[in-house]
């Protein structure tokens, strides 16, 4: 099996604290094979359970995904591996879609939150006006 090492276009804010191997110089990598692009592992630096568990959730919602999971190889390494196996589509595309879905979910949550805050402020202002009328 031929493993393909391709730099993944995820920006890395700064070099890691303890770089001691070639892998750690790259911000992200995809491990897979040329012949079968439906099974790949994506290695992300400076990520942890927060991102990985969330993207795992969205990947599980996708019917094209037959297997997905993540693992942190070592707590001292600031790295997370995300495994994606699909029914036939390229796993990179599936992961991109999952990230997109996650982004939409976050936007939805943020907009809902903002709307709730603004509604709360409006209702509070109205209540203050009513109190002044009584006085």
């Amino acid at each position: 099996m031929i493993y393909l090492v391709v730099p993944f276009p995820v920006p890395s804010p700064s070099p890691p604290q303890h770089p001691n191997s070639f892998d750690r110089w790259c911000g992200a990598m995809e491990h897979g094979s040329y012949t079968d692009q439906s099974k790949s592992t994506f290695s992300l630096v400076d990520e942890d359970h927060t991102f990985a568990n969330a993207v795992r959730f969205t990947l599980n919602q996708d019917p094209r995904v037959s297997f997905c999971g993540y693992s942190i190889p070592h707590p001292s390494d600031n790295r997370v591996n995300i495994r994606v196996q699909t029914t036939g589509d390229p796993s990179r595309e599936v992961l991109k879609d999952a990230c997109q879905d996650l982004m939409l979910m976050c936007q939805h949550v943020r907009s809902t939150f903002d709307k709730a805050v603004s509604d709360f402020k409006i209702s509070k202002a109205r209540k203050n006006n009513e109190d002044m009328d009584v006085e």
Binding site: Q17, H18, N20, T41, S66, C68, G69, P75, N81
Partner: protein, 1391 residues
């Protein structure tokens, strides 16, 4: 090198260039030095006792003369012009005013003086005896040890008897060294002849003489001894086994050693710190100067004698500062070490510097566990990685990496510390301009770079008990401060994480790295060579997780199952999800399926594991109508683990499957069937999964887990009350004297045995009830079931009942008068009064119970403290005696001298580390058969083989491997051992027969066919099975060059540290206390002639009759006349006086003895003390005798009669004198009896009528040797060690190691102990013996005897720095040379 570079060829290392000649130390010869030889090797005569002059320069002729080497770093040698590092040092010498004894040879000097005439210096033997002894000494058949023994036993003994010299008639008395002195005296006080008598009579007539001189004792001073020695003949020296002239044993000058071994340290302007040797030499010079002056001043006075003694003492202390005989006023206030003190002991030159050398590139720090690492990795702190380096040579593959390292320098990781050019120049990168150095880096340079990931390091934990204590790991550079590794590797290191430290070593050459990773890598050492069991295995948390994962009620949905599968390989492995165990309404996978994925993550991995294991919680098989029903896969507790083609069919996985020590476990099967990497990978996956799974799942313990329930409390109270009642019943019977006795025990012993049995049963019963009532989710219960920590006893003690405390293997002894503690009444024997703890740790111990508990604990602490020294010393002895043995290419085991110790290692040449079966068998046929059937399942059309067909196929297959003609006759001897072939054939025959016997004609045809497809054997299956067995057998042969001696020593010594120091074991009968444990092993290995508990196990010809056993017992057991006589009286009448003996015939018949008056008469006559003759004893009738004393005066007859009356009861009339006691032992299962004989007398016991001598054995090895020969003794050693370490302690050591030890002890035809006496007789070299024990004595004796040793063994190779000729060191390169053209005869002239 320049030529190679100009041609464009580059080398990664220097090419080999032939030296002018081979330079290797092959031999070492020991000798003594004479006065002229010392003067020749010396460069300067030292005569001044001062060091430096006023200009801070060493004084010529002084102790720091520059001709002996530079005294410190700033000076230069005046002889070879070398500096402090280059000059090897040169000798000086010091002339003594008078000769003195060399204290190391003092015993030898005394021995020689005992054998020579003090007048004419000839040997004290007549001419015929002298020639006879000389002929024997010159015989080539005698070995060196035999010659030494001959001199001591025969020559010295014969010479000591001679008083008058046969040649000159001089009177020679005994010669001895005065105790607590360095003086030798010649004692003639016991020799008298006419000359001395005349002198005495003459002296007595001088009445005016006030003092009488003692002419008997004379002091032999060194001058006189030197004169005698010079006159000795060479033949006499040869006869006394002195290799050179004996005058060399006396010192007339002293060698001054080079300054290199005694350097001087200048403290400040006027002081310097001098070595002890230098100080000693200064004292000698001063004493010598004083003596010389005294000699010059007064020639005829005796004042110089005191000075001479002082000089003798100083020179003696120069050699050995601990020598006895130094006067008190000369004891120095400051202890200065002599040469002997430099050499001997644990910190001496041999054991501290030569055998154990200091090394660089080493680190040491605290260890921590890390389940995220692979088992072959070790995490190294980055601080350590910056200090430890590896010299990497620059090639075009790594030049960019190394340039970056050079730029980073020594402080920034990853960097480098040193740079070495191709030509040999080296720079430190601390101060160098690193950027330019990096740019100028060329291929061929060497960069000492920091450690990086993947480097090969050695990892070691002390004490290093076996070869897995130091293994090779791959480095993994990580932050933080500890060394970290996977917990699975804790077992071989015996490491825990309570503050342990471990050592790290970095090999510095490519060859060293290759050897380390191949021979010492963790993956290549998963199994212990002790017995072939796997040692690197899952432990603790890994077992708990596996146990919980594989429960029947564990299910996961797709997302959870996928996540957990990703943990296994860190998401890097492709995973093929199996079909869900439950499809509707929701897809669910079971925990057992998860475990199957650990074994085989995806379909392309061709690992098919087939095994069956019964775990700890397997339910006991039960019987229905005398048929044994096995639960197997239907076990209610799910304790039957069944893997078929890597799928977990049933069973919860626990310690028996995953832990160490089981040859049928999962990792063992992976290792045997699929190589070490498969087992290691599986362990890594399991470690990853377990650490993450249990982190999410959680596993904790609380007080609720050890809280007993009401049912348990009531049951426990009931059980204990019942037990107490039963004990009280026994005590009451004992007090009334009605207790039925056990065999060989008196009433007190019987009572103790009964009570102990009851009380032990109490705790067992409480434990069982406890285990039944605990909830299945109980954490301690889970841990004990899967084997991660604790056992049912621990839980029982916490929850139910602690149980009986034992001290010395018995109930608590009486420390006060008639009681154990003052809390109890006297003579109390109740359970509570003798250390039974009825409470549990949960309910708390009472005061007396707590005290009893601490007594038992204290014994454990004492045992641990004392045991370490004993077993450590035992391991050292074993290693020293067996270290040279290794396997040659002809499969013989030989020592360093080439002597054969074993013709075939272990009798079959197999490697113990590769044995798959029980008891050291090469293969496990049951498991391989199961594997063959799983790989090749039966089809409908396959034909089932019958028994005869099976035999034919087996015969054909064996014939293919064996091409000799013997195969036609059914004898397969080439390549396979007879045992293996026989067991293989019988196994296959049994399985084939099982198929045919299982079904009869009564069953229907379809049922028979179905049954055959399940349990029948097809041709394909049989072929696969046979191919696996026969090919795998050969792969388990021990490799040539293997250090079987060192491995054997480890395999016996390392389990010794696990044994308890004192073990009280009752061999069959309660009253027999047999020595076991470490003391017994020491007895066996030291070859002790007297052992503490000799026991002969006698087998009866008729072993099913108790009466027969008693009769034979009576024949063996020693019976005195006093035991069988009713009365022994003195009868005096007017005519005669005699002693009348009346036998107690009833008692004789009860004991089944065959004794009558005739036998008693013979016994009395056989006793020498009585001095009686046959006419003195009359037989009155069958049970009466009359003994008449000898004819003596009437006045003494009364005395004689009473003397006989007191003596006769001690006469042995029956049995063997050396036997103390005989106990009848009963085998309860087979209703058989045998005799256990305490004492010696093996030959006599074998010859007793009724004893089957061919089956009778003894545990006394020397007795076996004397009676049955050396081969029987060798077999006895194997059996005794196996019984002590394997059978009793459960140590499980392969028998091949014990065979090797026994063969080593008996190879010379004598039993040689594994101690300094036996090792000396094994023909070891001087350096090896000196590095073991008694360093100084061995070196001095080697000099006297002129030993000439070859440097071939392990110890001497290490000491001399020569590669050891074992293992990879035994390979040699042979150069092909063209054969020389020999000139033929010249052509004839006439042609």
């Amino acid at each position: 090198m320049n030529r190679a570079r100009t041609e464009g060829i580059t080398f990664t290392k220097e090419p080999f260039m032939e030296d002018t000649g081979p330079r290797k130390i092959k031999n070492m010869k020991f000798s003594t030095l004479s006065e002229s030889e010392i003067s020749k090797i010396a460069e300067v005569q030292v005569w001044k006792g001062s060091y430096y002059d006023s200009f801070k320069k060493p004084i010529h002729g002084g102790l720091l003369d520059p001709r002996m080497g530079p005294a410190n770093k700033s000076l230069v040698c005046a002889t070879c012009d070398g500096n402090f590092h280059d000059c090897p040092g040169h000798y000086g010498y010091l002339n003594l005013a008078l000769p003195v004894f060399n204290v190391g040879y003092l015993s030898t000097i005394v021995e020689i003086l005992k054998c020579i005439c003090k007048g004419c210096a000839r040997i004290l033997l007549d001419e015929d005896t002298r020639k006879k002894h000389l002929k024997k000494m010159r015989s080539s058949k005698k070995s060196e040890l035999d010659k030494i023994d001959f001199v001591k036993v025969r020559v010295i003994k014969d010479c000591s008897k001679v008083v008058n010299c046969p040649r000159c008639g001089y009177i020679n008395g005994s010669v001895k060294k005065l105790p607590a002195s360095l003086t030798i005296i010649h004692d003639c006080s016991k020799c008298r002849n006419y000359i001395v008598e005349e002198l005495d009579s003459a002296l007595s007539r001088m009445k005016d003489s006030r003092a009488t001189t003692n002419v008997s004792n004379r002091i032999l001073n060194p001058f006189q001894v030197l004169s005698l020695f010079k006159r000795m003949l060479d033949e006499d020296c040869e006869l006394l086994y002195v290799a050179e002239r004996p005058e060399k044993l006396i010192m007339t000058n002293v060698v001054v050693p080079p300054i290199a071994i005694r350097p001087s340290v200048v403290m400040d302007e006027s002081l310097s710190n001098e070595n002890d040797i230098t100080e000693r030499l200064k004292n000698i010079i001063q004493a010598n100067a004083v003596l010389r002056q005294e000699l010059q001043e007064s020639t005829f006075s005796s004042k110089f004698l005191d000075g001479w003694d002082i000089l003798q003492n100083e020179v003696a202390q120069f050699i050995n500062s601990d020598v006895r005989g130094i006067p008190f006023y000369m004891q120095p206030t400051k202890q200065l070490a002599g040469f002997v003190q430099r050499l001997k002991g644990k910190h001496g030159r041999f054991r501290g510097n030569l055998s154990g050398k200091r090394v660089e590139y080493t680190g040491r720090t605290v260890i921590s566990p890390d389940p995220n690492l692979k088992i072959s990795e070790v995490a190294i702190p980055i601080h350590m990685a910056r200090i430890l380096t590896y010299p990497e040579r620059v090639t075009h593959h790594n030049i960019e990496k190394l340039r970056q390292c050079v730029r980073n320098g020594p402080d920034k990781y990853p960097g480098a510390r040193m740079l070495r050019r191709d030509g040999g120049h080296s720079w430190s990168l601390k101060v160098l301009c690193r950027k330019r150095a990096a740019d100028e880096l060329r291929i061929g340079d060497i960069v000492d770079r920091h450690l990086e990931d993947g480097d090969i390091v050695l990892f070691n934990r002390q004490p290093s008990l076996h070869r897995m204590s130091i293994m090779c790991h791959r480095a993994r550079i990580m932050p933080w401060r500890t060394l970290r590794f996977n917990e699975s590797v804790c077992n071989p290191y015996n490491a825990d994480f309570d503050g342990d430290e471990m050592n790290l070593h970095v090999p510095q050459t490519e060859e060293a790295r290759t050897e380390a990773i191949l021979l010492m890598g963790v993956e290549n050492n998963l199994c212990t060579p002790k017995n072939g069991e796997i040692l690197v295995a899952s432990t603790q948390d890994f077992l708990t997780s596996s146990f919980l994962i594989t429960r029947k009620d564990t299910f996961y949905d797709r997302s959870t199952f996928s996540l957990i599968c990703s943990y296994i390989g860190d998401g890097m492995d492709p995973i093929d999800l199996p079909t869900p165990a439950i499809v509707k309404p929701v897809e669910l996978w079971s925990g057992k399926q998860l475990f199957s994925i650990i074994l085989r993550p995806h379909a392309n991995m061709r690992v098919y594991v087939n095994l069956t294991v019964k775990e700890r919680n397997y339910t006991e098989d039960k019987k229905i109508k005398d048929k044994k029903i096995e639960w197997k896969t239907l076990c209610p507790n799910d304790g039957f683990v069944y893997f078929r083609n890597s799928e977990l069919i049933s069973g919860q996985v626990g310690k028996v499957t995953l832990g160490n020590g089981n040859k049928d476990g999962l990792f063992s099967v992976l290792l045997r069937d699929y190589r070490a990497h498969a087992a290691a990978s599986c362990m890594n996956r399991l470690a990853k999964l377990s650490a993450r799974w249990i982190g999410n799942h959680g596993f904790s313990i609380g007080i609720d887990d050890v809280q007993p329930k009401e049912i348990l409390i009531n049951k426990k109270d009931e059980t204990i009350s019942e037990g107490y009642r039963e004990c009280d019943k026994h005590i009451e019977a004992f007090n009334k004297g009605k207790l039925e006795l056990l065999a060989g025990c008196d009433a007190a012993q019987t009572l103790e045995t009964r009570i102990t049995g009851v009380l032990n049963g109490l705790r067992d019963t409480a434990g069982k009830v406890c285990m039944q009532t605990l909830h299945w989710r109980n954490s301690p219960l889970i841990m004990s079931q899967c084997g991660s920590k604790g056992s049912s006893i621990n839980i029982s003690q916490m929850v139910a009942c602690v149980g009986q405390q034992s001290v010395g293997g018995r109930r608590t002894p009486n420390g006060f008068i008639d009681r154990s503690l003052p809390h109890f009444p006297r003579k109390s024997k109740t359970p509570a009064a003798k250390g039974f703890v009825a409470n549990s740790f949960y309910s708390g111990l009472s005061a007396t119970e707590f005290f009893f508990h601490t007594m038992g604990g204290r014994e454990g602490l004492v045992d641990t403290a004392v045991k370490t020294a004993d077993t450590g010393y035992m391991s050292r002895q074993l290693m020293k005696s067996l270290e040279d043995l290794f396997l040659h290419y002809d499969y013989t085991v030989r020592n360093a001298g080439g002597s054969i110790v074993q013709f075939c290692y272990g009798d079959d040449g197999m490697d113990p580390a590769g044995m798959e079966g029980k008891n050291g068998k090469p293969l496990n046929f049951e498991r391989l058969f199961l594997k063959s059937k799983a790989i090749c399942p039966n089809d409908e059309d396959d034909e089932i083989l019958s028994s005869s067909d099976v035999s034919k196929v087996v015969h054909e297959k064996l014939s293919e491997f064996d091409m000799s003609r013997l195969a036609e006759k059914g004898v397969f001897e080439v390549g396979f051992s007879a045992d293996f072939v026989e067991s293989l054939q019988s196994f296959i025959k049994d399985n084939a027969k099982l198929t045919e016997e299982g079904f009869t004609d009564e069953h229907s045809q379809n049922l028979k066919k179905f049954g055959q497809r399940i349990s029948g054997i097809t041709r394909k299956q049989l072929d696969v099975f046979l191919n696996i067995c026969l090919s795998r057998y050969h792969s388990k042969k021990m490799e040539a060059g293997a250090p079987v001696g060192a491995t054997g020593a480890h395999s016996i010594g390392e389990p010794g540290t696990q044994m308890t120091l004192k073990t009280f074991h009752f061999a069959g009968v309660a009253s027999m206390n047999v020595t076991l444990g470490v003391p017994r092993v020491k007895e066996i290995m030291n070859g002790n002639k007297k052992i503490s508990t000799p026991i002969i196990t006698a087998i009866l010809e008729r072993d099913d009759n108790a009466n027969t056993a008693r009769i034979v017992k009576g024949r063996i057991e020693k019976t005195n006349l006093g035991q069988v006589a009713k009365s022994i009286k003195v009868v005096m009448t007017s005519r005669s006086a005699s002693v009348v003996i009346t036998l107690d015939m009833k008692r004789i018949q009860d004991a089944h003895l065959n004794i009558d008056a005739n036998i008693v008469k013979e016994s009395i006559l056989r006793t020498k003390k009585t001095k009686l003759k046959p006419e003195h004893i009359k037989i009155l009738d069958i049970k009466k005798l009359e003994v008449v004393p000898q004819d003596v005066d009437r006045s003494k007859i009364h005395f004689q009669l009473h003397y006989l009356k007191n003596l006769l009861p001690t006469v042995v009339v029956k049995g063997i004198k050396t036997v103390d006691r005989v106990v009848i032992s009963k085998d309860t299962k087979a209703e058989k009896f045998r005799l256990l004989v305490e004492g010696t007398g093996f030959r006599e016991v074998m010859g007793v009528e009724g004893i089957d001598g061919r089956k009778t054995v003894s545990n006394h090895i020397h007795e076996v040797r004397d009676t049955l020969g050396i081969e029987a003794a060798r077999e006895s050693i194997v059996k005794e060690i196996k019984y002590t370490m394997v059978d009793t302690h459960g140590m499980n050591i392969d028998i091949r190691h014990m065979m090797l030890l026994a063969d080593m002890m008996t190879a010379t035809g004598h039993i040689l102990g594994i101690n300094r006496f036996g090792i000396s007789k094994m023909g070891k070299s001087v350096l090896m013996l000196a590095s073991f024990e008694r360093t100084a004595d061995i070196l001095f004796q080697a000099s006297v005897r002129g030993r000439d040793d070859s440097i071939g063994g392990v110890s001497e190779s290490i000491i001399m720095g020569i590669p050891i000729q074992i293992g990879t060191g035994m390979i040699k390169v042979k150069q092909r040379l063209d054969p020389p053209e020999l000139p033929h005869g010249t052509s004839p002239i006439l042609s």
